[in-house]
Amino acid sequence: MSETTLDQVLARRHEAHQNIIDVDEPTTKLVIFALGNKWFAFHGERIREILAHADVFFVPGCPSSLEGVINVRGDIASVIRLHELLHLPESDAASSSILLGYGGGISSGIRVDRIVDVIDVPQNSIQPPPATLPDHMRALVLGVLRFQEQPVSLLDLDQMFADYARGLG
């Protein structure tokens, strides 16, 4: 019978521990939402808050895609609709929410039809935008992924706000 000392056991354990390779993949948080029957996402760090209910006050002289302003605990934020920018038909979802987003030095509320989920996904699950993407989406989509068997387009909020400020949508 071979004798094994405690020192040997601990040494083996130490060796085995050193051989463990960290296989945790870097993840990123996404806020997934629906506009009509299409699913989109923003990076979680770009979304400050999700408002289920907020009174929107109309401001005259604005395009129809700029719904108005909301009062968020004493601060005023604009609320925009993305349908026109993304070439989607207008929808009148009864349970719509407002995402308070921040990108490119601009902050604004964004009307979405429905919040699908807020999730952490491995970064490598986000694929580059496909070549078949329509022209108007090419500059706005950072990548695509699948979630609950649905394709999700990850949108570039910086670019989106910049384009909107330039008069698109």
Binding site: V59, P60, P63, I76
Partner: protein, 134 residues
Amino acid sequence: MNEKPSTTSQFRPILQVVSFTAAGHRFAVEAASVRAQHSATDDAIPAEELLGLPDACIADTITRRVLIIRHATGDLPIRVAGPVSLSELSLDDLHPLPDLLAARCKINGIRALSAGLDGITVLIDFCFLNQNEA
């Protein structure tokens, strides 16, 4: 008993404004920019025309007034709908335009928004409107 003077300031910064209605929306101008107010006359320019807004159907019972606004080109008589009132806005309730609204709003005279309990009041400076509009 001697009362000690208060060590905390009771000063509450406010802005005096004259509020009115145009195209069914509530607007306000700094009271300092209003020289006078009088009954409506035909030679006054409708506020809707200056702001580029559709002239809302206004019932005959709504009072029309004329505000004489101090303008770089001289006094500017502007016809507005009532109620016209002088009020004080707390500076805490005054907000600059959100970035996207400032970029996309077609009324370039809008300077700020006031959030009150009864909604939003749009603060206008008629001097910022295009010269050809004024």
